[in-house]
Subunit: 189 residues, 2 copies
Amino acid sequence: METFATRGYNNASLAEVAARVGLTQAGVLHHFPSKAGLLTGVLDLRDATEIGELGDERPRGMAFLRHLVDTAKHNAAREGIVRLYAVLSAESVTDGHPAQNYFRTRYQGLRTMVVDALHEAVEHGEVPTGLDHETVATAIIATMDGLQVQWLLAPDSIDMAAATETTIRALTHADLPPSPEPFQAGRAG
Amino acid sequence: METFATRGYNNASLAEVAARVGLTQAGVLHHFPSKAGLLTGVLDLRDATEIGELGDERPRGMAFLRHLVDTAKHNAAREGIVRLYAVLSAESVTDGHPAQNYFRTRYQGLRTMVVDALHEAVEHGEVPTGLDHETVATAIIATMDGLQVQWLLAPDSIDMAAATETTIRALTHADLPPSPEPFQAGRAG
């Protein structure tokens, strides 16, 4: 993860990965069939800690939008993960990139999840009717992504969580519920 | 520009650039001292057509925010430029990337330009007082960036201009003025 985050996929070398984990390149290739296979493994590992894997366990309605803000807050304490995601998602649009379908599918899934949460929020009476849920969902995800690049370049100038919350409140014409509990590392939310 | 857009900087080869323009690698290096120097040249060329170079000529107040929406609309017809920007801006956060300072300075300049336009919009009575202009500016720029990656991966699903306009209207609590004129390719705005 560290190698892909600091080099990008295209510029990462198996030699560096092998050196970091104390294996030979052949040793790494014993566990992963190729550099592309290693990337898939890294993305799967990352997903295990991420909103994309919340599935049926995700908070409903505006509580899910609060969860996105909490994720942005949480992300400010894990620069490596943010960098990995920002670099690989953009790099995935280059020709023949092995993570292109991964990110295309991932964004479609995220948009669907936010759209579903917005529908729930309307049903719960949390947000007004008449919003274009597809556009709002697309814009919220875009804001979170774009903030990551600005924050990585100027961490002292950018507050990802504050800007995410401001954008979500504006786009939904609604306040967000409080976080379920103070964030504590290692504790399930 | 095409090589950096389709490969990223790290993965681009001078050999490919040279072949595209019908020169030897030595011929390319006669005009640009290094691959990093070539990247600087490409970014300077791109800027010549971009909002970052509007300077004192930029529209004032909400007319500038309309200009951002028009830029997003325009961008949907120039995939190569969008890809170049999306790939290089994110890649710039990798270790030792030669465009890191370029993008750090560029984002700071864009934020300042949008903040200035928001102050003008308040003075003109176009938007209400009490907005956090820094946060709103950061979020607008972030939305535009994030939309580019989603659009590059799914151009038929994402309307960059519509999502940008929705976000700006929501964040400023204001409508946007009409475009100064219908967009026409090749005509100065």
